[in-house]
């Protein structure tokens, strides 16, 4: 028997359907128009990347409209304003502002950030509508984009990959899900998911130099007091979203492991800090997404501890594989997200209330997070008092690494070469000459006459006379004390160079770094 269904709803006109696409269309147009901004138009690949992103979004909308033309249906939004989104976004933006003040490429990047945010909104809308869901309109995409860009962005010539990376993050959020506490939720933190995936791809394809990741990682410390700044803004996030146990446990674990290694080996584990600034940023803003971290206090603590251990281990593993170690903080987050249900199950198995409430005693009432914050503030204060945050660190000192290398302490010679490479890259002629000498002598690195020659050539170009002498006499590896300009570049302790520092202050600082000749000069100047 045939039945005829009668649609009793009022008929939708096509114009109404098209009208519901106003926002994605406007954003797509805005992305296209943004491509004509001078910052973007200056690089044709970058401009085409924006055009390509607009074209993909436009095609997607076209496809949807063609189908909706036959059977009109409205595409709508539901309001989803959550504090965790806009507070995170504001905190992240403040980091951009502060860091960018001391490293201008960040400000130049704002145009590209804006484009990515618009792309993320449009992509999210179309994805939700394609899945026949209403789009949750709020601030959600902004912290995802900000968080991604705080760790990795592609060079202009490869910027289309940035859009692909965002797309992967959103697809992961939409499709890679599991049931948690009876609800379908995404497994991975969207930014950490795409960052983790792309870090793997970059490492596997040997294309790590296509991004700004190394610069991002190393320039955070150009902003004075960056640890204190991150700590302060981290407190805001901790206060609102009770993630103190995650961040605090991660920081304490890393600090503890680093301190233990330093005590046993005699040299710092990380090059010039107990916790690298970018990792410190990550443990405040990358692993603290409440949706993808455990919910119980003990679970949060375990999660933080695992992040600390993960970063610590990956740093060595990546170094051992000869890959850039800066990806340590990114690669372990997706693995941690995967462990969340396991952590929750493990915690549920614990029957002891004393253990379960170890960090959450009843007498604290609802103030447990504040108490955790007080502990974290005390720990950070203790770290700062020990000079392990923004102050001078032993690893900043070249003579420290020279002495450690001479004493054959673990990794010290490799670190010495690494530190000198950094300073040579900064145009410190002395460091270039030292590198040349190492490669010519072949004592702490494999002998390489051509590489040695190229370092001496660079030193000579920088008017370091020993470098020129070594160019002319290939049997020698002459050394000399650093020039004043070299000291201004090598004593920056991760911050800005000391171009304007008065000479007496400069030599006093050099003396504090164990440059013996500087102590003599400093003393002579004082007499």
């Amino acid at each position: 028997m045939n039945t005829t269904e009668i649609d009793t709803r009022p008929a939708l006109r096509l114009s109404q359907v098209v009208g519901s696409f106003k926002l994605p269309m406007a954003l797509t147009l805005a992305i296209f128009l943004l491509s004509f901004a001078p910052r973007i138009a200056a690089n044709s690949t970058l401009m085409y990347s924006f055009w390509g992103a607009s074209a993909v979004l436009l095609l997607w909308q076209g496809f949807m409209l063609i189908h909706l033309a036959r059977r009109p249906a409205l595409k709508d939004f539901s309001r989803a304003i959550y504090a965790q989104h806009y507070v995170q976004a504001m905190v992240q933006f403040s980091v951009y502002l502060y860091w960018g003040y001391y490293w201008r490429p960040v400000y130049d990047h704002f145009w590209l950030l804006a484009g990515q945010v618009m792309f993320a909104y449009t992509f999210g809308m179309l994805l939700a509508w394609s899945r026949r869901r209403s789009y949750m309109l709020g601030f959600g995409p902004i912290p995802i984009i900000f968080s991604t860009n705080l760790f990795l962005w592609f060079h202009d010539d490869w910027f289309y990959m940035q859009f692909v990376m965002i797309a992967v993050g959103f697809l992961g959020k939409e499709f890679v899900r599991w049931k948690r506490d009876g609800r379908s939720v995404h497994i991975f933190n969207p930014s950490a998911f795409s960052l983790g995936f792309f870090s793997l791809i970059l490492i596997a394809t040997g294309t790590t130099d296509l991004t700004w990741a190394p610069e991002i990682s190393s320039t955070l410390t150009l902003a004075p007091g960056i640890y204190t700044y991150l700590f302060a803004v981290g407190l805001i996030v901790m206060y609102f979203f009770s993630i103190t146990l995650v961040s605090g446990a991660a920081a304490i674990t890393l600090f503890g492991f680093s301190a233990l290694y330093a005590a046993l080996a005699g040299v710092p584990y990380f090059l010039d800090s107990e916790i690298p600034a970018a990792v410190f940023l990550g443990l405040h803003l990358l692993i603290t997404d409440p949706s993808t971290s455990p919910r119980t206090p003990l679970g949060k603590t375990l999660f933080g501890v695992l992040y600390g251990i993960g970063v610590f281990a990956l740093y060595t593993i990546l170094g051992w594989l000869g890959e850039p170690t800066l990806y340590d903080k990114l690669l372990c987050v997706p693995l941690l997200n995967l462990s969340v249900i396991g952590i929750d199950r493990l915690v549920r198995r614990i029957k002891s209330d004393a253990v379960l409430n170890l960090w959450n005693p009843a007498w604290l009432g609802g103030r447990a997070n504040v108490a955790h914050m007080v502990v974290w503030i005390s720990v950070f204060g203790f770290m700062s008092l020990l000079g392990r945050t923004d102050a001078q660190h032993p690893g900043d000192s070249v003579p420290f690494w020279q002495q450690s290398c001479s004493a054959q302490l673990p990794n010290a010679c490799a670190r010495l070469v690494s530190v000198e490479s950094t300073y040579c890259g900064d145009n410190a002629a002395w460091a270039c000459n030292e590198l040349g000498a190492h490669y010519r002598e072949g004592l702490i690195v494999e002998r390489d006459a051509d590489l040695a020659y190229s370092y001496f050539a660079r030193a000579c170009e920088l008017k370091f006379q020993a470098g020129c002498a070594n160019l002319l006499q290939e049997q020698t590896a002459l050394r000399a004390e650093p020039l004043e300009l070299d000291l201004r570049l090598m004593l920056r302790q991760g911050g800005k160079n000391l171009i304007d520092t008065p000479a007496p202050e400069l030599y006093a600082r050099a003396c504090s770094h164990d440059w013996a000749f500087a102590c003599e000069r400093s003393a002579a100047a004082g007499e």
Binding site: R71, L210, C460, L462, Q465, A466
Partner: protein, 327 residues
């Protein structure tokens, strides 16, 4: 109870709406399997694409470089000694005597008590011409330098300029290695290299002896100023050897004018002694250049004139020539 009913009713309403909405679409909304497949495909595509692009970029670079093939004799002149001239061993007079040369500068004086000095040099070879753009581009091409195309685009016969002291020395080092390994290297040069000589920049004495010979002349062509034998006070650089100079010492070209020629000597007061590497540590990083350029007037193109620049200077009036020297 009523509330429960209402909720159930609402839920039914939503379900009905979903069903109607589903009917409104004539495509199936993508499920998780499709979504994950799409996402993983995107990731896989990215990995393959980046790997391919990375390889492709390297290939393109190599292809660009391959466009300027390395020349068999390294673009050196096609004479029996590939452009090198032998300067016999022996003494010559170095520095200036203001009584004979009114244009002499103070830094050309030999010592507080002596105006000029005698310097003994072993035999060496010096380039008849300044090093050209063609020769330098040939070197850059062979070493896969990103600057190869830049120099290859310049007039190949002009002297190469705007290169720093380390770049000049790097070229000399490269040519030294080529001459030692090439089967075509002229025997005389090969023997000199095997006997301990090397290709480098001339030191001040080697340059000055080659310029003024052993008869104490002021200019490469003799004692009198002239603009017939050199590119002096001109408008631009000229191809090397543009001014033929029959009377010039050892038949060398452009020892006066055209481009200044950088040496491997640091600027120190006379008397001249070949500096040991260690001695260089105690002096300023200024390196002597000789011969003047097309922009200079006659007083600056005398054989004894000593200019100096720091090693990073890249100047369009400063070039170089090579020696094969055992010092």
């Amino acid at each position: 109870m009523a509330s429960g009913k209402k909720k159930r009713g609402q839920s039914d309403e939503v379900k009905t709406e979903d069903a109607v909405l589903a009917q409104n679409l004539d495509y199936q909304a993508p499920g998780r399997a499709v979504g994950i497949t799409a996402m993983l495909s995107l990731v896989a595509f990215t990995a393959v694409f980046m790997s391919y692009q990375s390889t492709q970029l390297e290939r393109d670079d190599r292809a660009d470089l391959a466009q300027s093939p390395v020349v068999e004799n390294f673009a050196l002149p096609a004479d029996p000694l590939w452009g090198f001239v032998a300067i016999p061993a022996g003494e010559f007079t170095m520095g200036s005597n203001p009584q004979r040369d009114r244009m002499a500068y103070e830094n050309e004086r030999w010592s507080a008590t002596q105006r000029q000095g005698r310097v003994e040099l072993p035999e060496y070879f010096i380039g008849r011409f300044e090093v050209t753009n063609a020769q330098f581009a040939n070197y850059l091409t062979d070493t896969d330098s990103p600057n190869a195309a830049l120099f290859a685009a310049l007039d190949p016969a002009l002297p190469v300029t705007s290169v720093s002291l380390p770049q000049m020395l790097s070229y000399a080092r490269w040519l030294d290695a080529q001459l030692r390994t090439s089967a075509a290297t002229p025997t005389v040069l090969r023997e000199a290299l095997e006997a301990g000589a090397k290709v480098t920049l001339p030191n001040e004495a080697e340059w000055e002896k080659a310029a003024r010979g052993t008869d104490g002349r002021l200019f490469p062509w003799g004692m009198q100023p002239s603009d017939a034998f050199a590119n002096i006070g001109g408008a631009a650089l000229l191809p090397v050897g543009s001014h033929s100079c029959e009377p010039c010492s050892y038949g060398l070209s452009d020892m006066a004018g055209n481009a200044w020629e950088l040496t491997r000597s640091a600027l120190v007061d006379y008397p001249f002694t070949p500096s040991s590497a260690e001695a260089l540590l105690d002096v300023d990083s200024l390196w002597v250049m000789r011969g003047g350029s097309y922009q200079d007037s006659i007083n600056n193109v005398r054989a004894a004139v000593r200019g100096a620049v720091d090693p990073s200077v890249r100047n369009p009036t400063i070039g170089f020539r090579l020696v094969i020297s055992s010092l």
